[in-house]
Subunit: 138 residues, 2 copies
DNA sequence: TATTATATTTGTAATCAGTACAAGTTAATA
DNA sequence: TATTAACTTGTACTGATTACAAATATAATA
């Protein structure tokens, strides 16, 4: 995927592919760490010294409205963003801090939710200890 | 469950059962709506006009440290609290705003998470449309 | 019970994420 | 090029949360 492809994708959704938006989008695509607005800001500032914090929020909002980015509800105090808008769950390891994605199969989802409830968005978040960290403390 | 039982429960966990803590705890037990700090504050103010916002945060933190209360990660901008510390999921209906709890069976949980990951805390949150609201728009 | 030490509550001030808004800039169109 | 609309920027503001110090209440001890 080149920057051109990304620009095209924004245009298809009615978004002007400005350098700032592309920088935010590409940061989210290449860093699957679900960063906060401020983390994105610090990173893109290196390329665009005039980048404004407000532009981070504006860009992220535009990308979310276009369905390319989503908020992940994994923190009760700060918004974290994800460049993968498809539904999926997250696990965070308390020891190494790593964030793992996983799939949420349709049938499991259906088995979980109250009967008749139609799910539109998922936020599934587990905290625990990953395999590697368990091994290293055995 | 009487207030005395609740007081005893706090004491067992090493918490002094002050009137303020009991008011916060009992509000959370009797209102399963996962309120914010401010919602709790408004409610308890009626009984204790001198109640301070800071005391809400202090009490909730003490109760959380004691394992009696937890934060539910259903909102990236504000903390919501739950008097049920047991693991369970939440569904919010976009139309009527209702928040439904549901169980998360062990075997489903195991099937979901990456192999070897040991889950310590769950935050499962679905947004969608509940059965009643679907019916009323049919 | 009186005294002392400790824990808790309170109110104010500070912090920090996010938003509103207006002015400046860029890009698109005629 | 002139005009218009979209976007970015910086500043000011809001609102949730935390820090802190003084006041109060509780528990422990004599």
């Amino acid at each position: 995927m080149t920057t051109n492809d990304h620009a095209k994708r924004l245009q298809e959704r009615g978004l002007r592919p400005t350098p700032q938006r592309l920088a935010v989008y590409e940061y989210l695509l290449s860093h699957r760490t679900h960063p906060t607005a401020d983390t994105i800001y610090e990173a893109v500032l290196a390329q665009y010294p005039s980048f404004s914090r407000t532009t981070i929020y504006n860009s992220v909002k535009a990308l979310m409205d276009a369905g390319l980015v989503r908020v992940v509800t994994i923190d009760p105090l700060e918004q974290h963003f994800d460049g993968n808008p498809a539904d999926h769950g997250h696990c965070r390891c308390e020891r190494c801090g790593q964030l793992l994605d996983f799939e949420m199969p349709e049938d499991l989802l259906a088995a979980l939710v109250p009967e008749g409830f139609s799910v539109q968005q998922q936020d599934i978040f587990f905290t625990g200890v990953c395999k590697a960290c368990q091994a290293s403390f055995a």
